[in-house]
Amino acid sequence: RAFAERSVSLMDQPVTVKFADETMDASLEKLKKAVNTVAFNYKMDDVAVVKVKANSFVNKPLKDVLSALTANTQLEYREKYGTIIISHKKVVRAQDKITVTGSVTDKDGPLAGVAVRSKSSTAATATDINGNFKITVEKGEVLMFSFIGYKSREVSADQSPLNITLEADVTGLNAVVVVGYGTQKSTDVTGSVGSLKVSNVKDRSVGSVTEMLQGQIAGVTVLNEGGDPTSGPSIRLRGQSSFNTEGPLIVVDGTVYNGGPIDPADIESIDVLKDSYAAIYGAKAAGGVILITTKRGKQGKTNLDITAKGGVQNALKILQALNAADYADAINTAYDNAGKKRLPAFDATINPDSRITRTNWTDALFRTGYIQDYNLNISGGSEKSTFYISGGYRKNDAILLNTNAIRYNFRVNSDHQINNWLKIGESMSYSYNNGQGANTTSAYTGAILSAIFYPPNASIYNADGSFGGVPADYAGSYGDVINPVAYLKRLDNSDGVSSFNVNPYVEINLIKGLKFRSNLGITKNSETIKNFSTRILEPGKKFFDNFLFQEQNNSRTILAEQTLSFDRTFSDKHHVSALAGYTYQDDMNEFFSVNTDNYQSEDPAVRYIINGTLNPTGLPLQGAKAEQGLISYIGRVGYDFEGKYFINGIFRRDATSSIAAQHRVENYPGVSGGWIVSKEDFFPKDGLVSFAKLRASYGQSGNLAGLNTYFPTSVSVSKTSGYLGNPATGVTGAAVDGLANLDLIWEKATQTNVGVDLGLMNGKLNITADAFVKTNTHFIFHPPVAAVYGVSNPPYVNGGKIQNKGIELSVKYQGNVGELHYNFIANGSYIKNKIDDILSGQQTILADPSVRDNLVPVWLKQGYAMYSFFGYKTAGLFQSQDEVNNYKGPTGALVQPNAKPGDIKFVDTNQDGKITEADKTYMGTPFPKVSYGFTANFNYGPFDLSVFLQGVAGNKLFNAVKYTGLNASIQNYNLLADAKNAWSPTHTNTNIPRLSASDANGNFGNVSDFYVENGSYMRIKNVTLGYTLPKTLMNQIGVRSARIFANAQNLATFTKYTGLDPEVGINQNGVDLGLYPQARIILIGVNVGL
């Protein structure tokens, strides 16, 4: 009773309040303050859109105030249990209903599948194949049109028809991001996830997906391993943090992928999980995860799209060697300086031919290469079934003679909605990849080094058309070299990989929000390697034998994944998502190889093993099989409140067969949170910043990459060969060439990340910044052990601790000046790497590569970045014997007793009077501290222009070409043209030591900063200019769209590096041995849509 009485008085209680011209939520706040004894209940979305006129009430009953507020709105008020409830009017007046029809288009034409829904009621539909829609709502309701990749639009349902044009969204805020076993709306993401819109790079012709990523995503470092058409670039996410080749995990269409190359034209989007989000892929995710989504069909008209491009390529730079006369002079000087008698071969009075230049060998290696690249795809579908079918072909005849790569792709993706609870589909692809590369990384036989070495007075061909060799009379004076042009032209290598991947899935909607998905990925790779080596009979280095090496490599991966996912919003506020899953992966690899020799004829038609005999040397027959299993349980829960506060938790439990049973299982957790600050009431509206989100994450993932295919729990017994008996014949045997470690455990990467996403100027400017600390512990590697142990394969061990700290920034800006639309995308990252701990008792490990087995410049040293260069500091060249004699240690003995004027002065860092290993100091790291990319896109009417720059900074390179190219003490090889700049009594202003046929001072034999150069570079990687043909014209000839474009790659490079190419890659740890250089490529192409 008392309650009722009170309620009466509640609605009648007098109120004094004053409203401004404002939205109703503001008015209600004022009203709440005025009657602070009364509770209110309403939805912010309902009241925030209602405009209130300025008005004031003095001691009016509350019900009058509320009536005034809700007059002429769709809202009504009532009182229940002491609470004022404001909600939509229950009574629907039929006369206010309106059926709106219309169409949705973008600048290219109708859009099918655009979601159309009322903001205030449950009415919703989607556009059909022709972009048309029909929806019945109350008049004046706000309709929202949204479509992935486009900016959403809100339009009041006041009239019909409504013709809506959607604008493409470059901010990406509305985009859906693939996050592993599912997707999230970009705004909901709480981890560090980078995304690449493939359309930005579609006009380039690239050999691999990795190449597309270069410079596109902050924190993703992609470096080409030279320009060899058969070698892909290396990729590292957030730096190198382990001693093994820790590349990121590749996931295609939701499934871990180890198939063949993917045609870039088939890719819809690429997302990169950089932080704890990767923990969902626990076991192998320490290097980050790259998620590739391929194109799928959309309901609507069946489209045929054709892209064809072709072009030419040339070397960016060619190193030059000395001409014949300069070469002879250099060798003579070197012999004089070494106190040796000059060689007749270089003595003009004995051999005048030595001064006649016949061939520029380095130029002779290169040619103009050609690239062709075609893709054709058909896509479309009905409301129930959609499909995407594509085929592609790419051929790259590269710039070094006789090197090439070829790729075929075929893909079918389809999806079928069988009924409202069952969906099935598949991704299926086949690729064939083959090519012929050239050896450019050996310091003995690399093609580019050989061309520098080869005497310029030799000819490429003899008069009879056979290959020329070094001048026969003096063959012994030119060292071990083979004609590099002949080497390239004789190449007969192939490495064809056929890869078939099929990944069918079934999705079942169990109850609202709960979905079961099962997929079974099967990948089969079949690789056939064939290398035929011909006889080499020209003077120089003779090979009287020929042989054919053939290897067959088959691998198979089965990956079965079952997931149960749940996604539902409760009370419009609580959005809950959850995922649970079980996956099983089994990898099998089997190979055999055959080595045959003694081919009577070298005719390409008879280069098959049947025509040879089993090679009597070594082990002509080999074969092995390896199999590994991985079982995982995965889980993820996400919760957000009112789309403002987000939290995500990830858990994964992995078990592998690769390590001993007691250490087999490992758990990987991840947790992250986000807060969209700009949705808070206190956040200034209409300010400069329109969107602001803070993110933080922590997570762990694992890594077994260091194990390769070896079984660390026991040691493989190697097969040996030897020769015994009379007559001696081959005898095979066995040797235990390693030591096992049963205590090996999983490598673990722990990562903490904080980030911020900002949208400024109404979404024109978007900024994402992240800072992270990534720590790898227990990293798996096998450190070299002292040779005295007598094992070639040291045991695997778990290392100590490596840390990467970094910051990443990416900025996107879009705008327009009249018809000129433009956007700029810049990203950069700074990474600081440090080895905190290698192994107990171990502070240094010497790493690969070595230069001609002599220089070992790359060390792993505690307290320094991984793979840093260590060597002697130099203090210029000795200019006189006095300077040599005055360089004394504490005992008065000469520090460099073997030095002569023109030799390098090494700094005796520890001042013990001797130059020893202890004097070696840090000389920089090959891994870039800063890597960045900048893309600018312009659109003006039918024209589009895209410019992309990419670069790195803060890294050093070890120019090992100097070791062979400026060093006259190896084998009388020809030298780099720079050798003319060597020190002599009359040419003292140089840092190149004197020419000498001996190296008593170790000018070249010592690792020193003489070899180390700044590796920073900036490269204009890509420029594309396109022209879209007029639509009206195209319509007349029945073409949906057509565009022609021109594309230039590697237009210009800015660097101080003096070697061939500063982009030396990662595999060689920054040691440049004359790597296959990159090409400048000019392409023209056409996109046609039917």
Binding site: G339, K341, L343, P344, A472, D473, A475, G476, I536, G540, K542, F543, F544, D545, T617, G618, F711, S714, V717, T720, G722, Y723, L724, G725, N726, P727, A728, G730, V731, G733, A734, A735, D737, L739, A740, P784, A786, A787, V788, Y789, G790, V791, S792, G841, Q842, Q843, T844, I845, L846, N854, T916, E917, A968, S969, A997, S998, D999, A1000, G1002, G1005
Partner: protein, 468 residues
């Protein structure tokens, strides 16, 4: 197979025994060139072509990290580890006793030979050479206190080997090249000689001599012929075949072989060596090619040097390993330009050296060594000498074993002659200096530098030899 299922059967044991010979015969870095770079430090030969690292070795200014030093260093320990694996595991295998003994004998023998080479080159009375812990392969292979401890270990292994191994003439044709009893005696004699235990050196030289299994060939030049790979003078050689074993013959051949073959042109003899031969010594033409000598080369007769042009720094070439190159069509040489091996077994320790070890051991004990010494001289067409001195012995060792693995540099070191001899420059055939006088400091240079790389990897557990 993996270690989890190996060491079970007689076949496993046999396979592991075969594995002992892989590195020995199949890699250029063990007996192809390998420690020959140290032998090259003597006054008998020079680095025949530009190669700074190798010149630095000869001039005793190397670092020890040079691949030419590191590779043979590493391979010796790999072979010793394999031998230890056999010694540890084969006794537990249930198999025929005679076969088992033969296999274990090979392991002890091969280990001892590798160990002796390392001990001679890296061990001194101040600091011994590293030795793997046979019982525990994970224990650090530390240096022994003195090289004497290395020699004692080697002697014990060789005695076990000798007791387990059969005589050479009991080996099947297919097993020739494997260790045998008198080879173990021969290495015992050599080890005792290096350990300066002359009584035992003489005793074990006699074990070889009195076994009656060996004899000098009547013609010195025949020692270096394919037909005599396992002739009566054979005790221990690099089992060779044109498919990829000791490349020493190719390494010594004229650089690029006058356009006909990929010779490497290293290790060219000096005038000092040529002048050491007495007039009428049949060994000179068999050992060295001089200007105007005729020789067979790929089926034809040529005059050295072919076409009057040579890339030899000294104007000479070793002739000992030239027989494989004499045949038309190159039927006894490797067709592979990177691996110029031949069908000729390269001797490591032959019967003549046993006679010289006996003579030296006798002279050093104050006994008369004439009988053994004169066997060698007479075969060379020289008159016998009486009351031979160490000077006679040194001369005889030099000319008999020139250009072979017996290692004159180590001889000069152990005789204490290196410093004086290396202080003189070396000459070519025209009398000009081809190698300047060198500064040899016995306190340091009697042994070679432990590779600093390994010192670093071992975190200082390995210690550098004094002065290096």
């Amino acid at each position: 197979p993996t270690t989890a299922n190996f060491w079970k059967t007689a076949d496993d044991a046999q396979a592991a025994a075969n594995g002992l010979y892989e590195k020995q015969s199949n890699s250029e870095d063990l007996y192809g060139r390998g420690f020959f770079w140290f032998i090259n430090a003597s006054d008998d030969m020079v680095v025949g072509r530009t190669s700074a690292d190798r010149e630095n070795i000869k001039n005793f200014i190397c670092t020890g990290n040079e691949s030419s030093i590191y590779a043979p260093w590493q391979l010796h320990f790999i072979v010793m580890k394999r031998a230890n694996d056999v010694i540890n595991n084969v006794p537990n295998i249930n198999m025929d006793a005679a076969t088992k003994n033969f296999i274990l004998g090979q392991a002890y023998f091969i280990h001892a030979v590798m160990h002796l080479e390392i001990a001679d080159l890296y061990g001194s009375n101040k600091q011994g050479a590293p030795l793997q812990n046979r019982a525990n392969p994970l224990a650090f292979p530390a240096q022994l206190p003195s090289v004497k401890d290395n020699y004692a270990y080697i002697e014990a292994d060789l005695k076990k080997a000798a007791s387990l191994l059969p005589y050479f003439d009991k080996l099947a044709a297919a097993d020739k090249g494997r260790a045998h009893k008198t080879a173990a005696y021969a290495y015992l004699a050599k080890t005792y000689l290096h350990a300066k235990d002359y009584a035992n050196a003489e005793k074990y030289a006699d074990s070889v001599i009195l076994s009656g299994k060996h004899a000098l060939l009547s013609n010195y030049a025949d020692v270096f012929k394919i037909a005599n790979n396992y002739g009566s003078e054979y005790i221990w050689s690099v089992a060779s075949n044109l498919n990829g074993q000791s490349i020493l013959p190719g390494a010594m051949l004229e650089n690029k072989g006058w356009g006909l073959y990929n010779g490497f042109g290293y290790y060219q003899p000096t005038k000092e060596l040529v002048d050491e031969f007495e007039a009428g010594d049949k060994r000179l033409p068999a050992t060295i090619l001089q200007k105007g000598n005729s020789f067979q080369y790929f089926g034809q007769t040529y005059t050295y040097p072919i076409g009057g042009k040579s890339n030899s720094l000294t104007g000479y070439q070793f002739n000992k390993y030239m027989e494989p190159f004499s045949y038309a069509g190159g039927i006894h040489v490797s067709p592979n330009g990177d691996e110029p091996s031949t069908d000729l077994n390269v001797p490591l320790l032959r019967y003549a050296e046993i006679l010289l070890i006996k003579a030296e051991a006798q002279i050093m004990q104050g006994k008369n060594g004439d009988a053994a010494l004169n066997q060698v001289r007479v075969r060379a067409g020289l008159p016998p000498i009486t009351n031979a001195t160490m000077a006679n012995l040194k001369h005889e060792r030099r000319v008999e074993l020139a250009g072979e693995w017996s290692d004159r540099n180590f001889d000069l070191v152990r005789w204490g002659d290196a410093q004086a001899i290396y202080a003189k420059p070396l000459h070519g055939s025209d009398g000009s200096v081809v190698w300047k006088a060198r500064n040899f400091d016995p306190a340091r240079d009697n042994v070679w530098p432990i590779p600093p790389k390994d010192i670093q990897i071992s975190q200082g557990q390995l210690k550098q030899n004094a002065g290096w």
